[in-house]
């Protein structure tokens, strides 16, 4: 997808203190049990207490991130809302599955069923903002956020003034166990700060939400421009390289979804070797691995382009860029299947 749009506002809830002030002096939070949970904020300033009680964790995280991105943009949401999520509210899905068995299919509380629906976060944002515009939810693993982004870029081309675009994901203890049975996570317990030093199968689980207010036109406040998006489904290594050669112009840094999984590192090697003289900025040691982790990567890239710096504690000294960063390629794939290239540019 060509065409250009601008990130006017954004917000993230993640395993790092990304929702707080003073991002660049934020600490590096970590885990040693292979699961990086979100550092959840106080939701009360965003959601009335009586609503809060009824909402499951994913809905709170998703809605609050969306609301903060809207506030950050200084716009109101009259335009489309498009999101991506690989798994939706897992907690609700698990709860309803269990209650069906426990209560033998009788007198069930419908709330977990309703909230388990993948479009429930989107519906809630629309309801809360009284926004009747276009509303869509993509649910395709490592293409969930990417298709939401594609949809949003098309909407802007079709004439929408602005689009609220986001992604959200949660991990539960139960789902962590389930995915451990098919090799998603490292079998040895590691310090998440050293994720990329462990050249073994699997990664560290993560979760999070990131929302972006995208606009047709830039302002003084814009974080970055998005001016290219390319998706590849189950490509060969050669296809990744040829796409890179055809798609990517010169960039000043590469943000990579490198996740320490030795089974799929070769794809990241191709991209990093292609750009061997510029900074390579990994981000999965910050947010962990999940279907929509690329949204966190884009949030990080947009911050870097606007502020020309990265939170000091998150990267080693020599990883911080020493030259101006005007163009960034974000490359991510989800367990070798869904590959995405996103081009970001300084405004």
């Amino acid at each position: 997808m060509k065409g250009k749009c601008y990130i006017q506002g954004m917000a993230a809830i993640s395993p790092q203190p990304t929702f707080e002030e003073n991002l660049f002096s934020a600490q590096l939070l970590y885990t040693d049990n292979n699961l990086l949970p979100c550092k959840e904020p106080d939701y009360k300033p965003f959601i009335p207490a009586n609503s809060l009680r009824r909402m499951s964790r994913m809905l709170k995280i998703g809605l609050t991130t969306a609301l903060k991105a809207i506030t950050d943009s200084n716009l109101t949401v009259q335009g489309p809302i498009v999101t991506g999520t690989g798994k939706g509210s897992l907690q609700d899905t698990e709860k309803f599955l269990k209650e069906i068995v426990t209560y033998q299919e009788t007198a069930l509380n419908p709330t977990p069923f309703i909230q388990s629906t993948y479009n429930s976060v989107n519906g809630l944002i629309a309801l809360q903002q009284k926004c009747t515009a276009y509303n869509n939810t993509f649910v395709h693993r490592g293409f969930s956020f990417e298709n939401a982004l594609l949809d949003s870029m098309m909407l802007l081309q079709e004439g929408s003034d602005h689009v609220l675009t986001g992604a959200f994901e949660e991990i539960t203890a139960e789902h962590f166990y389930i995915k451990s049975r098919i090799g998603f996570w490292k079998s040895e317990q590691i310090d998440s700060r050293e994720l990329l030093l462990h050249n073994t199968p699997g990664s560290v689980a993560g979760e999070g939400a990131a929302f972006f207010m995208l606009t047709q036109e830039p302002t003084d406040q814009s974080y970055a421009a998005i001016n290219g998006l390319k998706l590849l489904y189950k490509p060969s290594a050669e296809k990744v390289l040829s796409t890179l050669q055809a798609f990517a112009p010169e960039v000043d840094a590469v943000i990579t979804g490198r996740n320490g999984d030795c089974r799929f590192n070769h794809f990241y090697n191709i991209v990093e070797q292609h750009f061997d003289n510029i900074p390579h900025i990994p981000f999965k040691h910050l947010c962990g691995e999940y279907d929509t982790a690329s949204a966190f990567g884009m949030w990080l890239g947009a911050n870097l382009l606007k502020h020309q710096e990265l939170p000091e504690a998150w990267f080693a000294k020599d990883q911080h860029p020493s030259k101006p960063i005007n163009k960034i390629l974000l490359y991510n794939h989800f367990y070798g299947e869904q590959h995405a290239f996103i081009l970001l540019e300084r405004v």
Binding site: M1, I81, G86, K87, G88, F96, L97, I100, V101, Q104, E105, T106, L108, N109, P110, F113, I114, S116, T117, Y118, N119, S120, N122, G123, L124, A126, L127, Q129, K130, C131, T132, A133, Y134, N135, N136, T137, F138, V139, H140, R141, F143, S144, N147, D151, M154, Q157, E158, E174, Y177, I178, K179, R181, I182, L231, Y233, K234, E337
Partner: protein
Amino acid sequence: MAERVYITGVGMITAIGDDVAGNLQQLHAQKSGLGYTRYIDTVYKNVLPVGEVKHSNQSLFELAGVPIQEGLTRTTLLGLVAMREALQQAGIGDLNAVPTGFINASTVGGMCDTEKVYFDITDPEKDGSFLKFIDTLDCADCTQRIADIVGFGEHIATISTACSSSANALMFGARMIKQGLYDRMVCGGTEALTRFTLNGFNSLKNVDKQFCRPFDQQRTGLNLGEGAAYLVLESESFAKANNSRILGELSGYCNTNEAFHPTSPSPDGDGALEAMRSAMAMSGITSNDVSYINVHGTATLNNDISEGKALERLFGSQVPLFSSTKPFTGHTLAAAGAIEAIYSLLAIRQGLIFPNLNFSEQMEELQISPVTTLMENVTVNHVISNSFGFGGNNASLVISKYEG
């Protein structure tokens, strides 16, 4: 000038037929596919009617032309059957001869099979081939299995907006064509009955113990159904250059959110009204041009009032012929938009208006009532197909006759 988007192939499987011809035959015979489940393990087995596809998974493997194996869910198998027909009908042999995208829709992915083994999967004491179903827990699984088996290698996506999912898949595909990203997209959805969904709707007190009665005063809810449907969409220039057989046009569409309530539509049908009005405007047609409306018509108390009010507000005293085909198929959720888009196309091509079965008593809130017997030899030029869902996700499509 954006390309027009033509429909050049269709494929489907529902409770009333294994292919498009089978569906048409049963619609024509006015025979419902509703009955009681043979394949879901539920206490409501003999209580709540459903629109179940009349095949075991074993038999679906055969229909789908794949060897029996672990990891292929009923959702995937239904999708494969419909997909194979759509591609064959469109005359597509080698999918990679022309870059072709695939937009699928699903509400609960492979839940139909995972719910049967979920507690084995979460039990560390248990091990076995059921672990092959772990991947089928999400909505992308069925899309990728179908893509891999038939050979899609380009853009793929899965949409989940509850009951409007496959209408949105068609819309997204059409927009990608208009943007010039692809000349050909295959779009639709697949849905298998699950104990999860049945209990979900039942917990909302939305399921009728009788066969559903859309737009009837005595209606008390929906019956769930299952099925899959895909439509091959092509840009006008490609379809013509390729000599594709053009079956009809997807001439208008609208996606809007009602922002009224998490699960209920507004009593006045604001969202439904806006979806239909905008889809018609895009299609360039006025009220008089609409020959038939395949309504969402789930037979829940709220939907039918809301949708009926929207029809009356939009069309005044001249509401076009309308019917819900849900009493034939049940409410197939993510597949409904695509299944009913094909029914709309059949209405145009066969000159038929399908009856709204099980209607007997006029709703007191409305002045209008649906078509109740099959109408033949009708000139049908433009059909509106409605799909409204949870989360306020409303979608309307306009399917038009191809006059080429």
